[in-house]
């Protein structure tokens, strides 16, 4: 008798899940480049995200156009935000908060302003937009969200100033009713590592399909060689740099000799 409701629940869930699987629209996305290589002439790069909405026979005809929200998340890294206060006439960092692994890069690209795409409740639940993405903090050796913490908007503002965080409501354009493209320009100071691209398809304020992709930013060639040498053979690297300093100094003293 106890099992019966559970079994019913399972069937209901399966039906709901199955219903989702046979759902009309499917989202297909691709990036122009999955591997951004940093060379000595690197000053940033532009990636293009392409996508198409695949409709099968069962797809209901939509009265409203589709909406796309793409969230690009860079590698995560702990960040400390500090606030200065005047102490004895000097500005000193008095308060600080440690954010546990916020993304070092965050871009939200959409086809329309987010508040026109979905309701605040849905946006909060799906973590759409920078304001809805959680930034857990380290509080007394515990990790949690701190509501209304002034350090959170300060962190977002500082990251936006460095163009590491951005929200562009008109970056996704539909070339045809079911075909879209979005260009993502990565600034020169983007951190290296793996980037996740999460694309959500909305229609009439509801999420109807999702797709994801990824790309990585890596150093190659000489840049990679310098980094790995400095990490793995620190002393040797230091001595090589020192020798370079002596050589440069010596050459300069000969080349510019005026005696």
């Amino acid at each position: 008798m106890i099992r019966l409701p559970l079994a019913t629940l399972v069937i209901v869930v399966l039906l709901a899940g199955g219903g989702r699987a046979i759902c009309a629209e499917r989202l297909v996305v691709s990036l122009t480049n999955h591997r951004v290589m940093i060379t000595s002439s690197y000053t940033g790069v532009e990636l293009v995200l392409f996508g198409s909405v695949e409709r099968d026979a069962t797809a209901a005809s939509r009265s409203a156009p589709y909406d796309i929200v793409a969230t690009i998340t860079g590698p995560r890294e702990p960040v400390r935000a500090r606030r200065k206060k005047r102490v004895l006439g000097i500005w000193v960092n008095t308060e600080s908060r440690t954010f546990v692994d916020p993304p070092s890069y965050l871009a939200v690209l959409a086809s329309r302003p987010l508040d026109a795409i979905a309701s605040p409740e849905i946006r909060r639940r799906l973590q759409l937009g920078i304001t809805n993405i959680p930034f857990p903090e380290l509080v007394h050796n515990d990790v949690g969200e701190v509501s209304n913490d002034p350090f959170r908007p300060a962190l977002v503002r500082l990251m936006r100033e460095q163009t590491l965080y951005s929200e562009k409501p008109n970056a996704v354009t539909f070339l045809a009713p079911t075909l879209f493209r979005a260009s993502l320009s990565l600034p020169a100071q983007v951190p290296i590592g793996n980037y996740a691209v999460d694309v959500k398809l909305f229609a009439e304020g509801a999420l109807i399909a999702e797709a994801d992709s990824a790309f990585e930013i890596v150093k190659v060639g000489f840049e990679q060689f310098v980094v790995s040498e400095s990490r793995e053979h620190g002393v040797l690297y230091g001595m090589a740099t020192a020798a370079m300093a002596l050589l440069t100094g010596w050459i300069a003293s000969i080349a510019f000799r005026r005696d």
């Binding site: 000595s40 002439s41 500090r82 006439g89 070092s104 230091g238 300069a252 003293s253 080349a255 510019f256």
Partner: protein
């Protein structure tokens, strides 16, 4: 032309950095200082992380001072014995300085202490130098002879035991103040990330009465020796020395130091000290204004590392 710096993780304009190296190199060659106290703030200003800036400036200072030292060596204006005695004290001082550095970092107030020490040191040294050189200039204007080396004016320093004769500088002083000066320079250099030439030159002139002829060359030899070892230490411990950044700085710096050393020869000693004093004072005031004026943004962020 932009070039990507592999350790600093950012592109910079190669000509801008080259010009910065040239300008700072000129100043360092002219006054016999390393120029670290100018270059590090400049790099931080163009967006290089402070830790990378401090670490990458050390090989640049080494190249500049080595290039300058060769020029002074050819002119026979270096007191090797004095430089090596100072270095002995300097090595001990660096060890003490690194220990203090580590302790301050655990207290999370390292930035404040560095800022305050820049203000106090640069302010006091700059003011003293400007005052002294102004008096010397006024005296020479009044037609009096300038006597930097007043034989009768021996201070208590000259009464200390363990006397050594530094032939090239024509001074006969105790080894204790020489080692102590070396210790202080090494200590301050490790804490503040500077070579300490701007402190060493006035100390040698005013405390030990080293003649102007050998003071700059000797200071350059000491700076070059300490900065070479600091480069290896930084690379081995922090892995933050950006060789590409250092090479661009060096290329400009080494050339600039040559022109600076020649320009320095043509300027009279007291004017040279006045200019250096004003420069030191200006950098000190800049640091003071950062501490005293309300910052544009009360918030700041610092990445704690961990990303590949």
């Amino acid at each position: 032309m932009e070039i990507y710096l592999p350790i600093a993780d950012m592109p910079v304009n190669i000509f801008l950095v080259l010009a910065m190296g040239l300008a700072v190199g000129f100043i360092s060659g002219m006054f016999g200082v390393g120029g670290g106290f100018l270059m590090t703030p400049l790099l931080i200003f163009i967006g290089v992380q402070p830790a990378v800036a401090v670490a990458s400036v050390t090989p640049h200072v080494a190249a500049s001072s080595f290039s300058g030292a060769i020029t002074y060596w050819r002119r026979n204006a270096i007191d090797v014995v004095l430089a090596l005695t100072l270095l002995a004290g300097g090595i001990l001082g660096s060890c003490g300085g690194v220990a203090l550095f580590t302790w301050l970092r655990t207290l999370d107030q390292l930035d404040l202490v560095i800022g305050l020490s820049y203000v106090i040191l640069l302010g006091v040294v700059g003011a003293l130098m400007v005052g002294e050189s102004a008096r010397a200039i006024i005296r020479s204007r009044q037609g009096k002879r300038i006597e930097l080396r007043r034989p009768g004016s021996h201070t208590w320093i000259h009464g200390l035991p363990l006397k050594l004769r530094f032939k090239r500088s024509k001074i006969y002083v105790s080894a204790i103040p020489v080692l102590a000066i070396g210790f202080i320079i090494g200590f301050i250099g490790a804490v503040m990330g500077i070579g300490g030439g701007f402190l060493l030159v006035p100390m040698l002139i005013y405390l030990l009465r080293v003649p102007t002829a050998t003071v700059i060359g000797t200071s350059m030899v000491l700076t070059f020796l300490t900065m070479i070892s600091a480069t290896v230490l930084h690379a081995a411990t922090n892995h933050l020395v950006d060789a590409v950044l250092a090479l661009i700085l060096m290329a400009g710096g080494a050339a600039g130091a040559q022109f600076g050393a020649h320009a320095g020869k043509r300027i009279r000693g007291e004017w040279l000290r006045m200019l250096l004093g004003l420069l030191v004072l200006a950098v000190g005031l800049r640091f003071a204004s950062q501490l005293v004026l309300r910052p544009d943004d009360l918030y700041s962020i610092r990445f704690l590392g961990g990303a590949p």
